[in-house]
Amino acid sequence: MNGKHIFGLVMLITLGLFIAFTSVKKNESAEISPDQLNKKIIQQTRYFTPEEVAKFIISEDPSLQLIDVRLPKLYNKFSLKGAMNIPLKNILNEDNLLYLDQDVYKTVFFSNGTSDADVAWILVTRLGYENVYVMKGGLNQWVENILQPSEHSVVWDRIDDQMYQYRKGASEYFGGKSIEATDADVLVKPKKAPIKRKKKEVEGGCE
């Protein structure tokens, strides 16, 4: 036994004792693998149509969390009822991720079109967050389908008629016909989502 051996022994035992009091934790930012991401991307179930989103809003679905990923300037002009604003460039901020990393709410991203919301979706999905969706077609589609439903936009049949009636109803609900309508209902302050995180906490030990 020389000095080096004793040093090695002491190091081993100290580090070993330390690690014995910790437990294996699942690291929160574990990214999903590219092939898993690919499987998720091509699934159409990650989209909600504007009609579906409208239904959620009208029925005051408590599990809905709408996220407007456009710039605050646009958000202040017009957004969906109850939506909160997290601009795309800020989406990876710690504070914002707290809203997204949970599995109680269904988080629906939307922007003017689909693509910005899609980017947001991919970013958080790579972080392994569940229950995130995109509103297909974005606000443009929303305006077209919900706020200004047109009889002539599609080939007319019974199903379309039902859809038209539905859209018309929805349009009235959302104070439709005009996008300039800055109804009090449209502009609501972002609700605060209770922060619930599903992750294994480190149990016991010398924290």
Binding site: L12, L17, I19, T22, V24, K26, A30
Partner: protein, 204 residues
């Protein structure tokens, strides 16, 4: 967040090359490129294999748990062999026999061949033959045996991928501590043998 590189990327293959270089370098430096030193472990005249082996395994296990503790590595989500008890033991026994006969294991034989050992080259030829033999007799001889004895632990969501801690019912940290204690005992034991029988380090 580890792993840093995506699995099939060119970067990962580059990393593999550099990690391999480091691996080969350490093996050569430790004296693993000579079969007489390696085989010594079975005859009690050289314990370098046991010392290097256990120190490496302990260092890596401890290090990975520390990386996990600091949040840069996901210990739960790592490459992990599925435990099939029967083929692992049968394969291990066959490999042990191969070890005393050939004096190498596949990794060290590559390293030894790199330093010009022709017996290591012969050993590599043997491995190739062995793998070919295995593949041609896979269906009649090995296929059923290979899937036998899968170790299952209740309540695990990754069937068969069992860690020591899960098996004996402690956290992985405690399991590593036990492993360290065992390693220290082994080191003490081999040093004791060396002293008792007055074995000198040999150079080949």
């Amino acid at each position: 967040m580890a792993p840093i590189f995506e699995q099939a990327s060119e970067w990962n293959l580059m990393a593999a090359l550099f990690i391999g270089i480091a691996f080969g370098w350490v093996l050569e430096r430790a004296g693993f490129s000579t079969s007489r030193k390696l085989a010594g472990v079975f005859y009690g005249y050289d314990f370098v294999v046991i010392k290097v082996f256990f120190t490496a395994a302990i260092t890596a296990a401890l290090g990975l748990l520390f990386l996990n503790y600091f949040g840069v590595f996901d210990f739960e989500n790592v490459w992990m062999p599925t435990t099939y008890v029967t083929p692992t033991i049968v394969g291990g026994v066959i490999m042990g026999l191969g070890f005393v006969m050939g004096g190498f294991c596949p990794g060290t034989s590559v390293c030894a061949a790199a330093t010009g050992k022709l017996d290591a080259l012969a050993f590599i030829g043997g491995i190739v033959l062995g793998v070919v033999l295995y593949t041609f007799t896979y269906e009649p001889l090995w296929e059923t045996l290979r899937g036998k004895g899968k170790l299952l632990i209740e309540g695990s969501d990754t069937p068969g991928k069992v860690k020591i801690g899960e098996l004996i019912g402690v956290t992985e940290g405690v399991a590593v501590l036990i492993f360290i204690a065992f390693g220290i005992f082994v080191f003490w034991f081999v040093e004791k043998i060396k002293k008792t029988y007055n074995i000198k380090d040999v150079e080949y």
